[in-house]
């Protein structure tokens, strides 16, 4: 504390000395003699190069507005205007604060205005400064698009020189962040203008042009579809990208070219079985995951690869055996390593910074690898400490890691084998449940979806999860605004109710509440409706359960069934509803709810004559349950239904071409014969 106090005045005096010299530079900008002003700017240029303190001082002292004024003044000589742009470019090379100050002084519109000048040297100086400003993360990229004449003008300047090519493509590559940006650039012929630059003799130009294509094509079908038809010097663009992935090319170039092809493939512009994907892009991305690459490259490589093969099982299979990818990824979890801490603090810092990114990238790639193939899932879970890593990933502080971990877990949870073994052994349900208590929606969606699989009847984790108070949690999910969460909530409940104890079923009905149940039955999302019907069907399984639930909620359920059968719904929904009805018909007391409802019986009759076999089958099943011989009052029911003409229909159905329907009808008819 004392030292600080002593030091303070000294620092002030040094500062005032520095500002004094800086002030001199600024003062000279106001000299009445233009020749002196020019010399002043040139001296300022030499003074600020590589001197961040000097840059900050000049900005504080108000050099920027004056420089901008001189730059914009048509009375200034071109030489002066150019030097001003150079100094501003130099100031922009400093800290992020410098950039902020420059942007606040409206440097961007001033420089963009400067581009209208005819002098190439001046234009290049402006572009260089604009480039530096725009590639900074603190500059809002939207500023490039405010004036609609800017993009077409930049396109027209593009081919003027090696420098305009480099700076403009670099600006585009950094400022294309949204689908809207992609469209603006696309509409101004970005593809035709930039494609020839891919074979430029300058490495920098080639690289920036390539980056432009990767940001333009990302999740953009229109761009991707256009790209496949572009020829560069008579060669297809995809082949140009393939050449850029050659193993003697700079890593950045290989990686970016692989991204371009990946995006084109995902947009459907290139088939997944095309050689340029299978034999070039995929192996290139696998190489990017190797230990020899920088941590950043490994992250990007893994993420891009995960994205490439997500929808294609064949690519997943190939990747799974390429260059030991599965075990190579295990290395992503070893940062910061114990070695990095020992060697130097800088390395440790670097590793720490990338550790989260590495882990989430590896989880994503594992998730993508294991999304379809059982053998691959097995291979993944057998990787060293894999389940432990997922378990600890689920409770990491970084949301990105948690999300990726749960995605990975979800992917693996599609395996019956893994659910029965490793999932249970590692009690993954515990961190999963914890994650579900409090997490952003995107994590919740994945976590609840995983939970659905863990609640499958054969999963040994089902029991402990039930005991952990999961029902309330799932019921609350069904009230979410997100359809995906509602689906997962009700889906999990459905799985839980499958062949469950009476106690569980009662608990589900109680916790959910009939009101919520019926709200879900009128949910706008078909998936939610389907799973809710599934839940009802699972609740209404064995006879005592049917009777008990129908005795307490019969009226509402019958109402809901009527409503759905009368509404505009898909075949699947109606089939599911008829199945519920068939279950009700299987109850002892419950079946009276149907027998006493002539309107319902008419509906069943209608569906027995429906053109869709599945609906006929379900309706027939329902009738078959109603007329089943061995039960009390079967005679009366048979008579009533016979009177209503069901026997004739059944008779007709015994002639049906569908063997299942035919059998079902015959079985029903036999009830009458016995």
């Amino acid at each position: 504390m004392m030292a600080c106090l002593l030091e303070a005045p000294l620092r002030i005096s040094v500062l005032s000395e520095v500002t004094a010299t800086s002030r001199h530079y600024v003062d000279r900008l106001f000299d009445p003699d233009p020749q002196n002003v020019l010399q002043g700017v040139i001296d300022m240029k030499n003074a600020v190069i590589g001197n961040n303190k000097q840059k900050a001082n000049l900005i504080v002292l108000g050099a920027v507005p004056r420089l901008l004024y001189l730059l914009q003044q048509s009375s200034s000589s071109l030489e002066l205007r150019t030097e001003c742009a150079v100094v501003l470019g130099s100031l922009a090379m400093g800290t992020e604060n410098n950039i902020k100050s420059l942007v606040d002084c409206h440097i961007i519109p001033a420089l963009l205005q400067g581009l209208l000048c005819s002098d190439l040297i001046f234009i290049e100086a402006c572009l260089r400064c604009l480039r530096t400003v725009f590639i900074s993360p603190v500059t809002p990229v939207q500023l490039l698009y405010t004036d609609p004449t800017v993009i077409p003008h930049l396109m027209s300047l593009l081919s003027r020189s090696r420098h305009t090519k480099e700076y403009i493509t670099q600006i585009f590559a950094h400022c294309c962040k949204t689908p809207e940006h992609q469209t603006v650039l696309f509409n101004h012929s970005a593809i035709q203008n930039i494609a020839p630059l891919l074979i430029s003799p300058s490495d920098k130009v080639r690289m920036q042009a390539l980056k432009c294509f990767s940001v333009l094509a990302y999740e953009n079908t229109q761009v991707s579809m256009t790209l496949v038809n572009v020829l560069v010097d008579g060669e297809q663009l995809s082949q140009v990208f393939v050449r850029m992935m050659q193993r003697d090319k700079p890593i950045e170039m290989q990686l970016t070219a692989a991204k371009c092809l990946t995006y084109m493939c995902r947009a459907g512009a290139i088939r997944t079985d095309d050689n340029c994907i299978i034999l070039k892009t995929l192996p290139c991305l696998v190489r990017m995951c190797s230990k020899e690459r920088l941590l950043e490259e490994r992250v990007e490589g893994a993420e891009t690869l995960a994205y490439l093969m997500e929808p294609d099982v064949e690519l997943q299979r190939i990747a799974s055996f390429t260059d030991h990818l599965v075990s190579m990824l295990a290395d992503y979890f070893k940062y910061p390593s114990s070695v990095s801490a020992i060697t130097d603090i800088k390395r440790l810092d670097h590793d720490l910074k990338h550790a989260h990114e590495l882990r989430q990238a590896a989880f994503k790639l594992y998730a993508s690898l294991g999304s379809n193939d059982e053998d691959i899932r097995k291979k993944i879970t057998e990787t060293e400490n894999m389940m432990d890593r997922i378990v600890s990933g689920l409770s990491e502080s970084s949301i990105k890691v948690r999300l990726a971990a749960v995605r990975c877990l979800h992917s693996l949870s599609r395996s019956v084998q893994q659910l029965r073994t490793s999932f249970h052994d590692h009690a993954v349900w515990k961190p999963l449940m914890k994650l579900l208590q409090n997490a952003p929606d995107e994590v919740l969606v994945m976590a609840s979806s995983t939970l659905c699989n863990l609640l499958l009847e054969f999963s040994p984790s089902k029991e402990p999860i039930l005991d952990s108070g999961v029902i309330e949690l799932l019921c609350s999910l069904t009230q979410s605004d997100s359809p995906a969460l509602r689906v997962n909530g009700i889906w999990a409940l459905m799985n839980m109710a499958f062949q469950a104890d009476q106690k569980v079923k009662v608990e589900i009905v109680r916790a959910l509440g009939t009101e919520q149940l019926f709200r879900l039955l009128s949910d706008p999302d078909t998936n939610v409706l389907m799973k809710t019907l599934g839940l009802l069907r699972n609740l209404l399984s064995t006879r005592p359960h049917i009777d008990q639930i129908m005795s307490s909620h019969g009226k509402q359920i019958m109402q809901a069934v009527t409503l759905i059968l009368e509404g505009e719904h898909s075949i699947e929904v109606k089939e599911q509803t008829l199945c519920i009805l068939a279950n009700i018909a299987d109850g002892n007391t419950a079946k009276e709810l149907i027998m006493t409802n002539d309107d319902m019986l008419q509906k069943i009759k209608y569906y027995m004559g429906h053109s869709n076999v599945k609906l006929q089958l379900a309706a027939t099943f329902c009738i078959s349950n109603l007329i089943w011989n061995e039960e009390d009052g079967s005679q009366e029911r048979q008579d009533k239904l016979k009177d209503m003409g069901f026997v004739d229909i059944l008779h007709k159905l015994t002639q049906a071409s569908d063997p299942n329907l035919c059998d079902r009808a015959k079985t029903a008819m036999q009830q009458y014969l016995a």
């Binding site: 050659q246 193993r247 003697d248 034999l279 192996p283 055996f321 390429t322 260059d323 030991h324």
Partner: protein
């Protein structure tokens, strides 16, 4: 037709192998091209030029396993080596499909699958395991079966191996591989058939891309190699090397300027350098007689003490006589003694107007007779006399309408240096390769490279000469000994002297096969109507003056206790020698570090 196809395949194969493995010297280490019919177990059958392998054993137990090796081991100079095997048939049903693809050293039991024994490595199709000199495998890759193409890549730089399946790399399978492994496959199931591709066809896997990566790695390693700990030391050394090179080749003016500007001392007197320069110029312009004379004057005991050297110079003189360039025949011919052929290697140095030979036809009569008269004497016994007839009957061809000669202009040596090195690069490589065993010799031979300018063509010469000449005369109308009867007589007489000198030498110093061959080759020139286009005509090429010049120069330097070759040439030679030594000791990185790449 199948023969034709076979030839095509052979051509393809050779081309592909040359492209993939340019550093391999196949005379020393041939590349595998097929399976060896001699190095296999009896249950293995070979067909289709020894590329197809089928199993013909019982296949009941592991005792029925059978393997075959390729004809040759993989040379280290490949750097990266690759072959592929296509599974044509996985064999009869009801058997486990044991099948192994890999590598083994010479002498490893062939009644086994690759990978089971010491110095044997394999990847097996039934379980996808890799076997590293052990009966138990490690999980490695996917299984493989009919229709699959399995590739095996040996990296001789880091001694690892990886496999590919249908063009996809499966990752490292083995590390720390020993040298001299043979491609090997093993089968154990009746009906199994596999085809090998050692380069006969394009590979499914892009091995050239993998090679590109390693070439880049090695070259980056060379570029980044740390040099000179202390400031300026490296530069000083380079300057010294350049200076010594200039002095060695007697570029006095350049050497002087260079030494001055880099502040170095020259370790030889200027006069001495100039003397050597004079002699070298004579040799390089084909004026051997004068060269020998001058040498004897300036260095009286040199040739006396080196009779073999003198003999070599005289043989060259004989050749130059045939060429019509040596001073002795020149003065007998229709040319002025001062004029001479332009030395094609350095056109700018000896530029000249043209001069027409007068009525050359008269000289022509009888040339054949003169030669045939003497041939029986000059040529070794058993020489087909038909050749002699050939000479006399084709007199007409040797008629010349004109020929050019260029009076000498004093060239500035600098030009020679500047023009010098480029065109000679290919020669450096070729010569250096020959010299592996006699290191110093070879280097001295190649040391003259910078000096000469062999790449420029006669055509350019002619264009630079003045007008009234026939442009194609230099190539097609050359005449024996410049077309002079007297010169021919002198040449024949000189040949006799040479013959007796050779006999004398043999008596004095014993047999010398190099000398014998030299003489025989030189005399053979006379057996052809147009020696320039004959199989021995290469001797007449001015480029052949270079080794003579360089040997003589080295000998002179040695008498002054100066190194007989400049350190620069020594370094280049050492680098090349080092690379071939690396190839022999199994360091694969030599494949991607050609000396030529660094000689700009």
């Amino acid at each position: 037709r199948s023969d034709l196809a076979l030839n095509e395949q052979e051509k393809d194969l050779n081309q592909r192998l040359r492209r993939l493995y340019p550093a391999v010297n196949e005379e020393e280490t041939p590349l595998p091209r097929s399976w060896s019919p001699k190095d296999k177990f009896s249950y293995i059958g070979l067909s289709q030029n020894n590329l197809r392998v089928h199993y013909k054993g019982h296949g009941k137990t592991p005792k029925d396993a059978a393997s075959v090796r390729a004809t040759h081991p993989i040379p280290a100079a490949c750097g990266v080596y690759y072959f592929e095997v296509k599974i044509i048939s996985k064999g009869r049903d009801g058997y486990v499909k044991y099948m192994g693809i890999g590598l083994s050293a010479q002498g490893v039991n062939m009644n086994r699958l690759p990978g089971w024994d010491k110095h044997s490595y394999g990847y097996h199709g039934d379980d996808g395991h890799s076997f590293c000199s052990s009966g138990t495998g490690q999980p490695y890759g996917p299984t493989f079966t009919t229709g699959d193409v399995i590739g095996c890549c040996v990296n001789l730089i880091n001694n690892t191996c990886f496999y590919t399946k249908n063009g996809h790399s499966l990752g490292i399978a083995f590390t720390d591989l020993p040298p001299n492994l043979y491609p090997t496959v093993g089968l154990q199931t009746p009906g199994e058939v596999v085809d090998a591709n050692f380069g006969q066809h394009p590979f499914v896997f892009d091995i050239e891309d993998y090679m590109r990566e390693w070439r880049t790695k090695i070259q980056a390693q060379i570029d980044r190699f740390p040099i000179g700990e202390r400031e300026g030391e490296w530069q000083a050394m380079i300057q010294k090397m350049v200076a010594s090179y200039l002095v060695h080749h007697s570029y006095c003016a350049t050497a002087e300027v260079f030494a001055k500007s880099t502040d170095q001392a020259v370790h030889e007197e200027l006069a001495s350098i100039k003397n050597r320069q004079k002699i070298q110029k004579l040799v390089l312009s084909g004026r051997m007689g004068e060269a020998i004379e001058t040498t004897q004057q300036l260095y009286p005991s040199l040739l006396e003490l080196n009779p073999d050297l003198l003999f070599m110079l005289k043989v060259r003189q004989f050749i130059e006589m045939v060429n019509g360039t040596d001073s002795e025949v020149r003065c007998l011919g229709g040319r002025s003694p001062k004029s001479q052929d332009s030395y094609p290697g350095s056109p700018r140095l000896f530029n000249s107007p043209v001069h027409k030979a007068s009525s050359s036809q008269t000289y022509q009569t009888g040339i054949g007779d003169v030669i045939t008269d003497h041939l029986h004497f000059l040529l070794s016994p058993g020489f087909d006399s038909n050749y002699c007839n050939g000479v006399s009957s084709s007199k007409g061809h040797t008629l010349a309408h004109s020929h050019k000669s260029c009076p000498r202009t004093m060239p500035s040596p600098e030009l020679g240096v500047l023009n010098g090195s480029r065109g000679q690069q290919t020669n450096v490589g070729a010569e250096v390769e020959m010299e592996v065993d006699h290191f110093s010799n070879g280097v001295s031979e190649s040391s003259s490279n910078g000096f000469l300018n062999g790449s420029s063509t006669h055509g350019i010469d002619l264009e630079e000469c003045d007008g009234d000449m026939e442009v194609d005369s230099a190539q097609s109308k050359r005449q024996l000994c410049g077309g002079s009867q007297a010169a021919i007589e002198r040449m024949i007489q000189f040949g006799r002297e040479l013959q007796s000198m050779s006999e004398h030498l043999r008596r004095e110093r014993g047999k010398n096969s190099a000398n014998k061959k030299m003489l025989k080759d030189a005399f053979s020139l006379l057996a052809y109507s147009d020696p320039w286009i004959s199989p021995v005509g290469y001797q007449l090429d001015s480029i052949r003056r270079e080794p003579v010049c360089s040997t003589l120069n080295s000998a002179i330097l040695e008498t002054h206790n100066l190194p007989k070759q400049p350190p620069l040439a020594l370094a280049v030679g050492q680098a090349a020698q080092c690379l071939s030594l690396m190839a022999r000791t199994g360091s694969g990185s030599c494949a991607f570090a050609s000396v030529d790449d660094y000689l700009h």
